[in-house]
């Protein structure tokens, strides 16, 4: 239990503020988009969700808030927007934004650096798979091949490619789970 007196949780440690909402937008749009893209994996949805975050958050923003506060608010808005997206799209929380860990997307000097662990993680997943499983996933997700192109490249039928992809993805998901967050 908390004992003793009150604990001052609110500290003014950063009085760096945005001058106007355009500054808020310019400073965060790239970072927010990258975060959304990492969570949905396609440009169309990432653009829509980024738009929704700004549409929801910008109007009521108090510009006297510090940059840190504004980013935290944007991130929490993004968390809710993404959760709603998956509820509508699949009825399952496929991916999520964790304010504890994903704040780095908005606070680090370059969101590119934060997102740069995606290739490393993908490599770990792929390296744990048998050759044919790894190859079908590389062709589809990294080399942007259609299922027909992937089948042709591997010398198998389209039907076999679909089955192979499904099994490969299932095994990759298990590897992904073992790797943890």
């Amino acid at each position: 239990m908390v004992s003793g007196g009150d604990v001052p949780y609110l500290h003014v440690v950063d009085d760096d503020v945005y001058g106007d909402w355009e500054s808020v937008y310019r400073d965060n749009v790239d970072r927010l988009y990258r975060l959304m893209y990492a969570r949905v994996g396609n440009r169309a949805d990432a653009e829509d969700l980024t738009s929704e975050v700004f549409s929801t958050a910008l109007r009521p923003l108090r510009l006297s808030s510090s940059k840190g506060q504004v980013r935290a608010y944007l991130l929490v808005t993004a968390q809710t927007v993404l959760a709603s997206h998956w509820r509508r799209r699949l009825g399952q929380p496929v991916t999520a934004i964790d304010p504890d860990t994903d704040i780095a997307y908005l606070t680090e000097p370059s969101a590119v650096e934060v997102a740069s662990d995606a290739p490393a993680r993908a490599t770990k997943i792929l390296q744990a798979l048998p050759d044919r499983y790894r190859r079908i996933l590389e062709l589809r997700f990294l080399e942007a091949c259609s299922i027909k192109e992937a089948a042709r490249s591997m010398g198998i039928s389209v039907s076999n490619a679909k089955v192979l992809q499904h099994r490969a993805l299932r095994m990759a998901a298990n590897v992904d789970l073992e790797l943890g967050p």
């Binding site: 949780y9 549409s55 109007r59 935290a72 399952q92 704040i103 590119v112 993680r121 942007a144 789970l177």
Partner: protein, 219 residues
Amino acid sequence: MSNRRLLAFVDALATGRRPKRFRAQPEDAEMLRTAIALRAARPGEAAPTEPFVEGLFQRLSEQAKSPSMPEPRPARRLRVRTVLVAAAAAGLLVAGTAVVTEQLHHPAPTSAAAHVPEGSQLRTGTFQTTDGQVLGQIVAYRGHPSWVFMNVNAPQYDGTIECMLQVDNGATVAFGTFTVHGGAGQFSKALGEIDVSQLRGAKLVSSTGSAVAAATFAR
């Protein structure tokens, strides 16, 4: 047929198209999470395009010029906004503030929706167990209406938790009950007649009556 829809979803992801909705199963979600992780690793596609950045900027500029206009819709689809959005906005206010106070240690006045908090309108506390383990946060916001929001992360706990608010005169008020699923839960509720400035702390009590955690509001 879930497999066919799952395959279509994966195919859309792989080829960079917008996937269509379907009712996924939990095991589907695991596969799709991995598919997204693989897709997101494709070089050169994680950055926004200039037309998108500028187009959104223009739409937001128009929104800013017309205070009475409804929020602009995303470019590709109409969003269904319900009353829940208003409630969520109030939740965002305090959730956002919890992030601020706990993660960034920045000052209080993060704002949301029509309820823009001032520093003096927000009071926060951290739920801790008797052995000092942090279980969550609580934020009280004085406004119209006044709200309390709390989140709890109590690993391996499933069940109901009752929140008791403590006020300055020593009285304890049963504030509400919420459910924790898989160790996680959150709860928000209007404060009603309780004055935020009179709040001293909060206690969480399990369904068996045992104390789970307590928080003291910072002044």
